[in-house]
Subunit: 188 residues, 4 copies
């Protein structure tokens, strides 16, 4: 059961998030995890076609997916035409410097994109963390996202400072969840 993580990262933060998603996938027995930067997409279209699930990840730039990630989305119109991703599982994650920073519009855009391909969208599946007096920024899903995994990394710091451990654990949870759901979904 192949599961692919397709992502773009401008400064390395989203790449860290992608690697955390990958670790989550790998923690599920029987899942073969592939990490695909969009710059290398041309050699991976067959892998995507063979995947039971594809997890999409992009930084949020100016309120939506990065241009580099959008280029991959647009290039997938050939696959769209032949419906080769129909009924596959999909999920998404995003990182930006702002706490909120319009990350939800990125996740919505990824979910709409997956829907155009006829895919099935796995939500993050976690209740919000850090939303009451007992919560903290160390909670899983501390940003309170529902459609996918969100991470925040300071604009002036490198990957040694962000995403935070809790955001990376949240990403890992998403990878594990998608692999678990895919196993259940593909078994026939």
């Amino acid at each position: 059961m192949k599961i692919s993580v397709v992502y773009h990262s401008g400064y390395g933060h989203t790449a860290e998030q992608a690697k955390a998603v990958l670790r989550g996938v790998q923690s599920v027995s029987g899942a073969e995890a592939l990490l695909i930067p969009v710059a290398e997409i041309e050699q991976h279209w067959d892998n995507l076609e063979q995947s039971a699930a594809i997890i999409f990840g992009s930084p949020t730039y100016m309120g939506s997916v990065s241009a580099e990630f959008k280029k991959f989305m647009d290039a997938s119109s050939k696959v769209w035409f032949t419906r080769k991703w129909q009924d596959k599982l999909a999920a998404g994650f995003t990182n930006s410097a702002s706490q909120n920073g319009d990350k939800q519009n990125t996740l919505t855009t990824l979910a709409v994109f997956a829907a155009q391909h006829g895919m099935i969208w796995a939500s993050l599946g976690l209740p919000p963390g850090n939303h009451d007096s007992k919560g903290s920024a160390n909670d899983l899903n501390r940003l309170g996202s529902a459609l996918g995994a969100m991470a925040q990394s300071n604009a002036d710091q490198g990957t040694e400072s962000g995403p935070s451990p809790s955001d990376l654990k949240t990403a890992e949870y998403l990878g594990q969840r998608v692999a678990t759901l895919a196993a259940r979904f593909v078994r026939r």
Copy 2:
């Protein structure tokens, strides 16, 4: 395998669409279909909890779900708290008088709502119809939606005139698709 269709309809058009979704569900062997108007929701929370999939339908009023449907969404916060819909399949449909009329915001709102419950969103799964010189308003998915099923009904006419047969067939397709996916997903 119980599959529930929860809907609100102000003037009957969305109710016709809901019935079409129900017919689609019923066409799949082994699926027990329930049609639940939001006005009767109080007696159906257990049914929703026992359902493998819940399909949400609302007219688009002023750019989003109707207040009546939103009341149901808000009331579901009790279920949200106990995560009883976690990992269930979800899908959505909407009707409005305009061709587009911000119906996509309604479907996005339903998908976000389902994601808050930890559900898995089944897209419509149809390529767009009526989008080239060979197309017509009789095509399946003539409005070209991806997240769910859309229908259009004239503002000054009753259910004898709308939704159109193609919109009802599109709704039926959604019901059949969700039941088929649910059967595959729940079988273990």
Copy 3:
């Protein structure tokens, strides 16, 4: 120059945010500020018609505006029909327990609603706070919103604990901004 703040609040947090918006409006010379809870909307339709700007506020419940606020939105369809809010300024704010919690979908829904009325949407107009190593939760726009003002209040605490002073200052900024823009826009 009348400027109205129409809001719903379930537990008081959004009401505090609304009052902060109102203070911002009142800080602008020549602005007459009105605070209108949706429960009293029936006696205020004329006030809205006479307003140069209307600022909409709702808690985010289950990923969108509350049912009570949606009821007001749906009731405004009469005004929509006669285009009485055409070209007025609009803006929005929302509060929820989660840091993010799908608040962006609420603001998008408010912006689409205003667009249906032919209104002109004033963004928050603040760069994100708390997004680099020098930032903190005390920054203006600490949640990093763009379409409108966001606030966060813990789920298990009353209005003595939230929204935070920075969120209230952000709301105040929005009120001041809208009044300033309205003054510039209505002067002929």
Copy 4:
């Protein structure tokens, strides 16, 4: 009073829509209209800075703005940092082959983008056409959009067949509206 129309077009349809928006701008006395394809953006940043309003146009590809248009959006982060577009008017338009085809997500993405720049979003300002028994595809705003102007062009036909005259008139209306609002807004 400079008003700029920044657009991308893959096959010429959105370019026709952009030209119609331009004609609308030019119909307003005192408005100097600029048509800027994103491929030539590098020589136009000063023009954008001097504009009272910027109208954004992109085809809808895979559910959002095209990668080429997104590249322009991302490149504008330098301007974003210095807040040079703060308080300018903004508006948007989009074309795709589907009737709906997730065009609303493109307009939402443009509105969020404008909000990040602190701009003020001018909605289309037209009630929906073709939404009752007296309507037809010849109506202004036949697709029933609110946030901006939508157009539909068949996937297998060139610009001789689409966008339709009504979609071009709708685009022209948007241009005229933005120029009129800008005149009112910049006069002090």
